[in-house]
């Protein structure tokens, strides 16, 4: 009886925590349909005018396309690099490997604002700042560790003898890579593509420093926040939220389907 009470208390507790985490998201969604310019209670009339305003704003669209370009490029490049790093860690042991791994995994521990400062200074020195490519370059640095972690996790589930078995059967290293390793890692690769894209999609601090005149969407949100405070922030946020959600859920479905396939195989 006591245990059951404990359990329901814990359940309630979890719900409160989830409430804390989700309340700003939900509130922003609600206020995006509120006609008042400044969000306050009680709510004003229902309106989609902020969505219309966003839709008509050429800068927002330009930012959106730019964010998309950046997101797709970053996803491809960082997943490739992440795969390389994960495979290197999986296959080889060499002196200095811990340094190699530290390099591959450290970037997320550096505060974004410092990354931004360092990237802007460095990129402007080599004449690479102020453009969409600057954002791509910086985001790849930050996203590669996520890609590596996801793919490495998948590789650790692989039977280590599988690759050498393929070699013994006469496959070249490239062949084994193509027909054994790559297909096995595919679900992790797909989810890494989606997750790195989602990370890049919401990053504003570094992009704010390096993008110059070519603002991405999150940087645009930041300028809205600093300039004309407007419920358009909520409207953009809600749309981006939906998009990112779709990416995350897709990634999860792919991972889940695969892991359930694996358990049934076992």
């Amino acid at each position: 009886m006591n245990a059951r009470l404990n359990n329901s208390l814990l359940c309630l507790y979890l719900l409160i925590i989830l409430g804390f985490i989700f309340s700003p998201i939900i509130a922003s969604f609600i206020f995006s349909f509120n006609a008042d310019r400044f969000p306050s209670l009680p709510l004003g009339e229902f309106s989609v005018k902020w969505y219309e305003a966003v839709n008509e704003d050429a800068d927002v669209w330009a930012g959106f396309y730019r964010t998309l370009t950046v997101g797709v490029s970053v996803a491809m490049v960082s997943t490739f690099l992440g795969f390389c790093a994960a495979y290197t860690d999986y296959r080889y042991s060499f002196t200095g490997k811990s340094v190699y791994l530290a390099l591959a995994l450290l970037p997320p521990t550096v505060p974004l604002i410092i990354m931004g400062l360092a990237m802007l200074f460095f990129l402007s020195r080599v004449d690479l700042s102020g453009g969409t490519h600057s954002v791509i370059i910086s985001h790849v640095v930050m996203c590669t560790p996520f890609a590596m972690a996801l793919i490495r996790l998948r590789l650790s589930q692989m039977d280590p003898d599988l690759e050498s078995a393929a070699w013994n059967l006469g496959a070249s290293q490239w062949g084994a890579m193509r027909f054994v390793i790559f297909p096995f890692c595919l679900p992790a690769i797909v989810s890494s593509l989606l997750i790195t894209m989602a990370v890049s999609f919401d990053e504003f601090a570094v992009a704010w420093f390096v993008s110059g005149l070519n603002e991405t969407l999150p940087v645009r949100i930041l300028s809205f926040l600093q300039g004309q405070v407007s419920p358009r922030i909520n409207a953009i946020g809600s749309v981006v939220f939906m998009l990112s959600m779709m990416l995350v859920i897709a990634a999860n479905i792919i991972l889940m389907r695969n892991s359930s396939k694996k358990t049934t195989e076992e």
């Binding site: 245990a3 404990n6 359990n7 814990l10 359940c11 507790y13 979890l14 925590i17 804390f20 985490i21 309340s23 700003p24 998201i25 509130a27 206020f31 969000p39 306050s40 209670l41 490739f80 690099l81 795969f83 390389c84 790093a85 296959r91 190699y100 390099l103 591959a104 521990t109 550096v110 505060p111 974004l112 604002i113 410092i114 400062l117 360092a118 990237m119 200074f121 460095f122 990129l123 910086s138 790849v140 640095v141 590669t144 590596m148 070249s172 290293q173 490239w174 990370v199 919401d202 504003f204 999150p218 949100i221 926040l225 922030i233 909520n234 946020g237 981006v240 939220f241 995350v248 999860n252």
Partner: protein, 282 residues
């Protein structure tokens, strides 16, 4: 011969790209930041130099150390608060929930990472304002207004928004890896549930719990959005100082000094935390 070279091409193809990329665009920029801290500014342009004046300037300022103290203690406090708040939830998720529900809860904890952090902070303003949602609710139940926005509490709420989901996820991850037999054994020895948690579960999950707190510290230590938009004048953190220095008068070298101090602090904290986490383990 041909075989060997083919082999090395293969391994080089996979090993070098990440190494070269991270050297060029991660290590190098950070190294440059260190170099920058010895440069000087003339006419709003930075120019190569070798001077310690930026270091002296920053380290001599009382407000720098004050800000450092605040940033550090707020981040440390947040990571303790987050760990404590998260633990019961993580415990419940890992030990009491069925696999399916667990999966849904974990998924919903991932979701916030992919919503705009800026939008979430902006949204918190509506809750925390003097005339905001929370105060309206407090007023309704007859409790007077509480100042929340532009206070340190505001900053901490922002930090928690950023890091709490991550802390729970990491804690769940480490709790799920605990050997169930260990917990069973404790139960069989008539250990009370609370005692089991403190004597068995927490020590067994120590590495994960420390890592979770560490990540929370790292995120809070470097965040600038919460202190600006929720902390107001009460929390001028180091990251705001970096923004101010680089924005006003192009004092990049001084901003670099602050940045490097922050990185060194983070590295030292990470090192100590890891040592503590793996103490007595190999």
């Amino acid at each position: 011969m041909g075989l060997i070279s083919n082999r090395s091409i293969f391994s080089a193809f996979f090993s070098f790209p990440p190494l070269i990329y991270q050297l060029a665009f991660f290590v190098f920029p950070l190294f440059f930041l260190l170099v920058l801290s010895f440069w000087s500014v003339k006419f709003y342009r930075v120019q190569p130099d070798f001077t310690f004046s930026n270091w002296l300037y920053i380290f001599e300022k009382g407000y720098f150390w004050k800000s450092y103290g605040w940033t550090f203690s707020l981040a440390a406090m947040t990571s303790i608060i987050a760990s404590v708040i998260a633990f019961p939830a993580s415990y419940y998720i890992s030990f009491k929930l069925s696999e399916n529900i667990k999966r849904i809860v974990l998924l919903s904890l991932i979701v916030p990472f992919f919503t705009s952090y800026l939008v979430r902070i902006y949204s918190w303003q509506v809750f925390l304002n003097d005339n905001g949602i929370i105060n309206a609710a407090l007023d309704y139940i007859g409790v007077g207004a509480v100042a929340m926005i532009n206070t340190k509490l505001g900053s901490v709420i922002g930090y928690l928004t950023l890091s709490l989901p991550l802390v729970i996820l990491l804690q769940v991850f480490s709790l799920s890896n605990i050997d169930r037999n260990l917990v069973e054994a404790a139960h069989n020895l008539k250990c009370s549930p609370l005692k089991t948690i403190f004597l068995v579960v927490i020590p067994a999950a120590r590495v994960g719990l420390v890592l979770a707190a560490l990540f929370c510290f790292i995120l809070s230590f470097g965040d600038f959005v919460s202190p600006i938009y929720l902390g107001g004048a009460t929390t001028q953190t180091l990251s705001i100082l970096i923004i101010d220095l680089s924005k006003a008068g192009q004092q990049w070298p001084r901003a670099a000094v602050v940045a490097i101090t922050m990185i060194v602090t983070l590295l030292a904290t990470t090192f100590l935390a890891l040592r503590f986490a793996y103490k007595g383990k190999s």
